[in-house]
Symmetry: C2
Subunit: 261 residues, 2 copies
DNA sequence: ACAAAAGTGTTGACCATACACCCATGC
DNA sequence: GCATGGGTGTATGGTCAACACTTTTGT
């Protein structure tokens, strides 16, 4: 508390403690950096048929890193927001109706792009976005600007730039998001079985995150899934009820800390 | 599953499904935006003597928004990382030894800065950072570039640009971080009483987040606080034990989901 | 003595985990 | 029948919230 006088209900200001000796020590700083701003997308999907978590990659068609894979990316256009740019790259690679998209992190340190050494004082900043889409619905667009492919998260090729780091960051976010927000229902079909939800969770979080019957009762107790009564027969075994995500029942839970484990 | 053939252990590629008609629909896009990249800091501290959550603001000394308050900010310099820039602004306003700093969010939509309408095609991107510092230790630097002040979070002045939005975002992050990571111990002194920890939590999260005795036992059960045995007398009442944060005992809990409620 | 703050203990409600077990279907 | 997946129930131990109570100080 010594040396921290505070007046009730007033801002504590540098004016109050101006010392006469500490005037303008104007150190010379390097000049401002010059930035190109792009958006990099980490787009995930879950292939329920094969229990694989997939990431969308694009083959580079020019230098630097020609012939290497990287994340779908673009530079931001005039009049366009960051999220619009992210939407645009996504839409240029795949066609989907339902998706979850959110900003991930910004990477802007020096040395991210080898072109920096060619164009002096040029820097490259990437605002990364994280997306989850429905695999069964996602239609790859045949792109003149390069080959596009889903890669299983556990057999990734070497990536250009610092994209492995970005991807790893996105993977961590996916696992966290799945645990405490209902993003799974953004990419599941309108009607789904609880088995499908469980499958999605296990392929992302690993086999032993929870036991099916406990997962099931926990999820139902949250109260935002409603049983349509309709049964779906998926090959052998007893037919499962089809459920629907009830957005209205979920609304009051929004912003509340939730655990979906 | 229809129309989604997948080969085991191979990427699913647009090459596999190339359709001859979908070649280069080269829509004309607007040209690339031209960005200036800055860093905006939301710097919090907790005044334990008055139970107030404070934010550091800076008075603007030039247009636009001359005379209005805004967050401490700077443009990124050559050779400097984003975090280094964030550190630099912070260090130019206050002197602190201990702090917690992390990236918050990037704001880069069109129309954020009124100068955009003057310089055509110019855009302003802010990578915001969030910091928590120890109030008692933080010494405001008498800045030639403008007045600096701590403002209580509940009596903020009007802010320039979209800084209210950034600040609100930072406030939300602070509350969340406090609940599930040990950032409080980054800004508490080396030796502290459990009452001080509780006080910090209540001024950030509100009076009714938890009862003291429950908070206490929960925190101790986590096992990374060690009682030094030394007693501290703070005015009236029974003297409290001084505790120390044990980084080694905490290490195994790192990356694990924790609740500090 | 009394107030104030630290610290301990108890209780009942709720929740997580690990199972065991029944149900409905395809083959 | 039997394998397969869907669905229900239960027993055990743990955690959470509320609150009563004791301890140690300053005045």
């Amino acid at each position: 508390m010594s040396g921290s006088e505070v007046k009730k209900d007033e801002a504590i200001s540098s004016e109050d403690r101006r010392s006469p000796n500490s005037l303008g020590h104007t150190e010379t700083l390097p000049p401002r950096a010059n930035f190109k701003v792009g958006v990099d997308n980490v787009i995930f999907s879950v292939d329920l048929a094969q229990n694989r978590l997939l990431v969308l990659l694009v083959m580079r068609e020019r230098e630097p890193f020609l012939g290497k894979w990287n994340l779908p990316r673009t530079l931001v256009r005039q009049g366009e927001s960051l999220e619009e740019a992210a939407d645009r790259v996504l839409a240029s690679k795949i066609r989907v109706k339902n998706l979850y998209l959110e900003q991930l992190y910004s990477f802007g340190g020096p040395g991210r792009d080898p072109r920096e050494s060619l164009e002096p004082y040029q820097r490259y900043l990437s605002v990364s976005y994280f997306a989850l889409v429905r695999f069964e619905e996602a239609e790859l667009i045949d792109n003149p600007a390069g080959q596009v492919a889903w890669y299983p998260i556990d057999t990734l090729p070497q990536l250009a730039f610092d994209h492995s780091k970005i991807l790893e960051y996105g993977h961590r976010r996916l696992r966290n998001k799945l645990e405490y927000s209902p993003i799974a229902f953004d990419v599941l079909p309108d009607l789904f079985t609880l088995g499908e939800v469980y499958q999605l969770y296990t392929t992302v979080l690993g086999e032993n995150f929870s036991d099916y019957s406990n997962f099931r009762s926990k999820l139902l107790k949250l109260g935002f899934l409603c049983d349509t009564g309709v049964k779906a027969s998926r090959g052998a075994g007893r037919p499962a009820s089809l459920y629907r995500f009830d957005a209205e029942a979920f609304a009051p839970l929004k912003n509340k800390p939730l655990v979906f484990i």
